[in-house]
């Protein structure tokens, strides 16, 4: 009652102000937007450009990279998410893409649930999703700072990144600073588990892949990760993590792969940031792979037997972003990837380095225009130059990004 009194008094005090002005300009049912049960959004990505390499697909190896001279539409992403009930949230990403021949492909990129109220600071995720390995692997292309996938992630996880069907358990440590430990357990087969039981593994070891069944838990793929973060100052934050991916590969019936990674992200943002600008960020990831290849018949000539050996690969990328003024970012990325000599000389393990400056302009939060140049050096092939223009638009629910 007392409150009614106060409201009445306050309104009376403000009688000079037109009461009608307190009404919405037009009556509208609020349920249409924020109260709906599901967020729906669509991200469309178009690339346009040219490369000195006529077979662009051999140079731009990521699935969401520009892949021909001229126009590419490598990613049209329909995202749905919402709260399922008091216990779960649900997410799905359905990706439509056009290949180099203009044929449409559809993939269920992600479809998973996430718990909201497990005890003990635990959280479970289950379904099909990107493994939380390092920093960029779980990000969708529209969150990337460059038009293409880093070389080292392509080497280790293939053109689409590391994702599969499984579960992930995460624990937020009760420390005063952020520390999260997690482990993902996935099926180890398929094209999106490139370093593991993938049909595309001949590209790595040169042999005919063997049929391997899942005989026990050891034949699943395990992806542990620990990440920690501190605010260095009012304006600077550092996030570091280490990840691993351990599972079987199909060069032989008992062959295994281990991938290790370390990642770092640092960001400075002005105390008086307007629309998030100005800022400077630095991001780097280093990965190393130990791939035990069994004795195997060569896929090129089955009469040739390739020896039992360990294939070692490593690589890294580092990128600096500078958000000069609202809606304008200039960036520079340097990267290399390299594999130690082996019986089969794979193109996809040869030493390669690339330097990519770019500039991105956001006409609004819902669109982006990017111009990128790549200086690309492939050992044994030579230098290539590419220029890519990227345009992206977002429809529907407002994007929200993790740090």
């Amino acid at each position: 009652m007392a409150q009614f009194h106060h409201v009445a008094t306050l309104v009376a005090l403000c009688a000079a102000g037109p009461a009608a002005a307190q009404q919405p300009t037009t009556p509208v049912q609020q349920g249409r937007a924020a109260g709906s049960y599901m967020n729906v959004s669509f991200v469309g990505l178009t690339d346009f450009g040219w490369s000195t390499e006529p077979d662009v697909g051999s140079l731009q190896v990521g699935d969401h990279d520009p892949h021909v001279r001229g126009f590419s539409i490598p990613n049209g992403e329909l995202a749905l998410d919402g709260t399922v009930d008091p216990y779960f949230k649900g997410f799905s990403n359905i990706v439509y893409k056009l290949d180099a021949k203009g044929e449409t492909g559809v993939e269920l990129e992600e479809a998973y649930f996430l718990t909201t109220s497990l005890p003990g600071n635990l959280q479970l995720k289950g379904g099909q999703f990107f493994a939380e390995f390092g920093r960029q692997n779980p990000q969708h292309p529209h969150a990337w700072a460059f038009a293409d996938e880093p070389l080292v992630l392509n080497r280790m996880f293939g053109p689409e990144g590391l994702r599969s069907q499984g579960v992930r358990l995460s624990w937020l440590a009760p420390t005063s600073w952020y520390t999260e430990a997690m482990v993902g357990v996935f099926n180890s087969a398929g094209g999106t588990t490139f370093s593991f039981r993938s049909d595309g593994s001949s590209e790595i070891h040169g042999g005919i892949p063997v049929e391997r069944d899942v005989r026990g838990p050891g034949d699943l793929l395990f992806v542990p990760r620990v990440a920690t973060s501190v605010d260095l100052t009012e304006t600077q934050t550092l996030l570091v993590g280490v990840s691993g991916a351990f599972g079987p590969n199909n060069s032989g019936p008992d062959a295994k792969t281990q991938v290790y990674g370390a990642d770092l992200y640092w960001k400075w943002k002005s105390l008086r940031a307007h629309q998030g600008f100005p800022f400077v960020s630095f991001q780097a990831e280093a990965l190393t792979r130990r791939y035990t290849a069994a004795q195997r018949a060569s896929s090129q000539d089955p009469a040739i037997t390739l020896p039992d050996e360990t294939l070692r690969d490593r690589g890294m990328y580092a990128q600096v972003l500078w958000g000069i003024k609202p809606m304008v970012v200039v960036a520079l990325r340097g990267e290399f990837a390299s594999g130690a000599a082996a019986a089969f000389q794979s193109v996809s393990r040869a030493t390669r380095s690339r330097v990519s400056p770019n500039v991105t302009w956001y006409p609004s939060e819902f669109s982006k225009v990017r111009l990128q140049y790549n200086y690309d050096h492939r050992e044994g092939i030579g230098v290539d130059h590419s220029v890519w223009m990227q345009f992206e638009f977002l429809l529907g629910a407002h994007a929200a990004h993790k740090f």
């Binding site: 000079a16 002005a21 037009t26 937020l172 952020y178 009012e234 943002k269 940031a273 629309q275 993790k402």
Partner: protein, 308 residues
């Protein structure tokens, strides 16, 4: 040790470890997305709550980074106060997802959405982003209207009492004190601005409409052509001619907005750029909502007196 004593011992040890025997009185962790909401929570919660704000007072509240330290803060929160109406849509959802704290889930006593219960202005009739980043639920910059603040502190007191019933009387008493001061202050602020009824202002973003409504001022133009769209030379030329025609001379900017653009416009319109933060603590001695509003009203009244 007999079975009996062993069992007793175990029970006592278990109870002690669960904290059943000695409930420790600790302060309620209240997290507010922005410092203005935090200031209200401090006024109502008094010294039985610990209040933290996620956004800094000087930064654009639409574009806060979803920093991992915020995940930890939200994980430990007993109460979360958000502005709502999509103010934090770009950064709060991923933080809450990672924070895994169902005490602050939507619809629980631990979650306060300030915009609920406030009548929002500029609710769009159609959803069309060619008009800029218009918020579907209405303009979220409503804290600058004292009547809205009155409604919000009432909500805060109700929720705090529900989460911490032991201190319900304290929250009620603090609310009463706050509302009494607010009533007196509002009368005073109205009086100070009364001579400038219909006074014309220009703002950078469309973030002072509630102030204009309450104190009978008129927002003539915004430097942004549309919400979230950077000022273009063509639009600024239009603003300048409109300001000259209507003799509008006050340009209000928040600390994170581009003051240089505002100064350029002011030079060509015999205008003045006023730094009007909507968050407490940016200007010295504005830690509370009352101090902040005192500053805003005084600054406006002085500028109107000098420029009109």
């Amino acid at each position: 040790m007999t079975t009996m004593t062993l069992r007793t011992f175990t029970t006592v040890a278990l109870m002690a470890s669960l904290g059943v025997a000695t409930p420790v009185a600790r302060k309620l962790n209240v997290v507010a997305t922005t410092p203005d909401l935090a200031a209200l929570a401090r006024a109502i919660g008094g010294d039985v709550v610990d209040v933290k704000a996620l956004a800094k007072p000087t930064e654009d509240p639409h574009f806060v980074d979803a920093k991992p330290s915020h995940i930890v803060t939200l994980n430990r929160a007993d109460v979360l106060i958000e502005g709502g109406a999509e103010l934090e849509v770009g950064w709060l959802p991923p933080l809450l997802e990672s924070a895994r704290n169902d005490k602050i889930a939507a619809g629980t006593p631990g979650r306060i959405s300030a915009s609920q219960g406030v009548t929002l202005l500029e609710v769009p009739a159609t959803f069309d982003r060619s008009r800029g980043d218009v918020h579907a639920l209405g303009n979220p910059h409503f804290m600058i209207d004292p009547v809205n603040v009155h409604l919000i502190v009432g909500q805060i007191a109700d929720h705090l009492a529900e989460v911490d019933p032991a201190h319900a009387d304290l929250f009620k008493a603090n609310l009463k004190t706050f509302d009494a001061t607010l009533e007196a202050k509002l009368a005073d602020w109205q009086k100070q601005l009364a001579p400038y009824r219909g006074g014309k202002i220009v703002t950078y973003h469309n973030d002072f409409v509630y102030l204009a409504e309450r104190f009978n001022l008129e927002v003539v133009e915004t430097l942004e052509p549309k919400p979230g769209i950077a000022p273009s030379p063509a639009h600024l030329a239009k603003v300048i001619s409109k300001m000259r025609a209507e003799k509008a001379r006050l340009i209000l900017v928040q600390p994170f907005q581009n003051r240089k653009t505002a100064e350029t416009v002011a030079r060509q319109t015999d205008g003045v750029v006023l730094d009007i933060p909507q968050q407490p603590g940016v200007v010295p001695n504005t830690a509370t909502y009352f101090d902040l509003m005192d500053y805003i009203v005084r600054t406006l009244a002085t500028a109107f007196a000098e420029k009109t």
